[in-house]
Symmetry: C2
Subunit: 384 residues, 2 copies
Amino acid sequence: MLAKRIERLTSSLVRDILAVAQRPGVISFAGGLPADEALLNVDLSALSPELLSSAMQYGPTEGERGLREHVAARMAEIGLKCRADQVLILNGSQQGIDLVSKLMLEEGTPVLVEEPAYLAALQSFKLFGADLRTVPLQQGVNIDALAALMPSVNLAYLTPTFQNPSGYCYSEAERKSVAALVDTHGVCLFEDDPYRELAYDTPAPAPMVSFIQSALWIYQGSFSKTLAPGLRLGFLIAHPDLMPHLIRLKQAADLHSNRLSQLIVGQILASGQLAPHLAKSLPIYRERRDAMAAALQRHLAPYASWQVPAGGLFFWVKLAAVNDTLALMHQCLSNDLAIMPGVAFMAGGRDDGYVRLNFSHAKPELIECGIAKLAQLVSVQQKV
Amino acid sequence: MLAKRIERLTSSLVRDILAVAQRPGVISFAGGLPADEALLNVDLSALSPELLSSAMQYGPTEGERGLREHVAARMAEIGLKCRADQVLILNGSQQGIDLVSKLMLEEGTPVLVEEPAYLAALQSFKLFGADLRTVPLQQGVNIDALAALMPSVNLAYLTPTFQNPSGYCYSEAERKSVAALVDTHGVCLFEDDPYRELAYDTPAPAPMVSFIQSALWIYQGSFSKTLAPGLRLGFLIAHPDLMPHLIRLKQAADLHSNRLSQLIVGQILASGQLAPHLAKSLPIYRERRDAMAAALQRHLAPYASWQVPAGGLFFWVKLAAVNDTLALMHQCLSNDLAIMPGVAFMAGGRDDGYVRLNFSHAKPELIECGIAKLAQLVSVQQKV
């Protein structure tokens, strides 16, 4: 009686982990939560009563004009020229994945994804019946594998900047190579870019879609990591040919995004407060990344390998002697430690012994304590 | 290259009307906007800084616990007993239509809808490939026609209370009859109930789903009409068997709803401010309904027939000599008057000469002026 796609709604494993991770006393590296200390300190008194009151009525599906213009201007700064007409304000960038799934996918549509890739994107693509084709992304992207897959897919979903979970950031040369491939094969490129501003060492290269000449494309970003996820505000920018469809899909999904959040974020962008906010937040993230790097080096070096991520929110750690990361996750939970098993990010379901460790939410002293605990559990496993 | 469903995304006609309707100088009966004067006067100072700051982080997919409990308590008051666990907070009730479409529909799934019915529900169902089967709802619901269709459908979508566009409200006896039919035939009932609180004469009977014994069901409501559409906040309540799927679909769609809006509405419900707010708003709506009833009687009686709606936001007016309401709409627009052609609400696309006139947004003097203008245009048409 239910639609067939409901059978493809993957298990609630991850929801369960995240629920347990919130138990008092649990050290959680499981979620992707921004540091509480880096969240926007929302100043509602900055909003005029007139603006507030007008924001209570229905608004435009595309989003508030002023916010769309600020987003377009910000995009130009990072190398993606677009008009405000190409900006669609989203109820968080997860919604962009839903809209693009509706736009592009039906049962059996071949989609290129990285392996590993963002869990909730894989879930949405599967829900809509995608046939996922994977390109390995372990110690860098495999451009040859990517080139080999291109002729057989309609859509390529990539997170080229500080990817969740691998942390990998495509070089400018790699971005140009992939853009040339989608142009050659007429593949639509969907670039997911929520972590760009969380760059701890050097800024990321321009978006991959900015190097496209002829192919269709959708790019999306988020205010969840830079300002506050609770505001549920993201945006997408797309090739002009796709905009009318995406706007109608957004309208059918929820008419338009929350206007209060749009007002708050619009006011922050208009008054130039984003840069100072990031200048305050980034040191917090950098400190936690460095704390986790040090703790890993101190405790886990004999059992694991990893790259220190140049941005984003995660370490992607390969455990030498672990081949069942789900079992390890359960073991960790029994010891009040929450981690994400790498297998959850693999479209093919292979378990390569990776775990994803979030470094942004726990304070440095808890990071130290949690990594020591993980090392203890892994070392026992190694001996067995 | 795009998904086939995109061909079923209906034309932007209505978006175009609504865009034109906002032109200065246009009298608009086209949209379904609440009266500006009845919108929530949001008092952000009532929110504690601690609450505000905690609302900036990611939140639960199901919605804030306190808000879900208040919704469940409110439902009990109107005769629908449910647990807070059965409440899912939505980004406006349009999102419920999207989630239920995903839950129930695939290409060819037979769905019972009223004719006329809410335009954007028809659009969503069509997008997901539904085979729409219509039951007439002109001067009351045709229970025999409904009973005849029941054995052949999986889902019935009904708006039994002050329906958009017809304004019709099912009696308690009719509600019980339909509930018995869905029980007998094992059809899932989707009851859309955004207008319940906008009752100008007597309160509406208990929700139809409250009379169900065994069938699956989903009920949804909205804070858009009672408080403010810009907050984008609605809710659904469902049979316990459906909740796990609906929660996962919500998670895949946008992770969770805006927390600031949830905080604002939760605080209003907790402090008992909804009832006084409605006591202030309803007279505004009642006055405008009565103004339109009087204007229709004064100007349009020779050319049209209608029922005065006991609630909701619309008059559904049958024009005796008009058989192309789309042409009439264009004629009206040329004369700075916006109306909705009835054909847009008919799943079968038949034009029975109805127009939908919103009475909530325009002030009484503009209602008078707009109806006089409409009568003039219709009278000319009648003579031709």
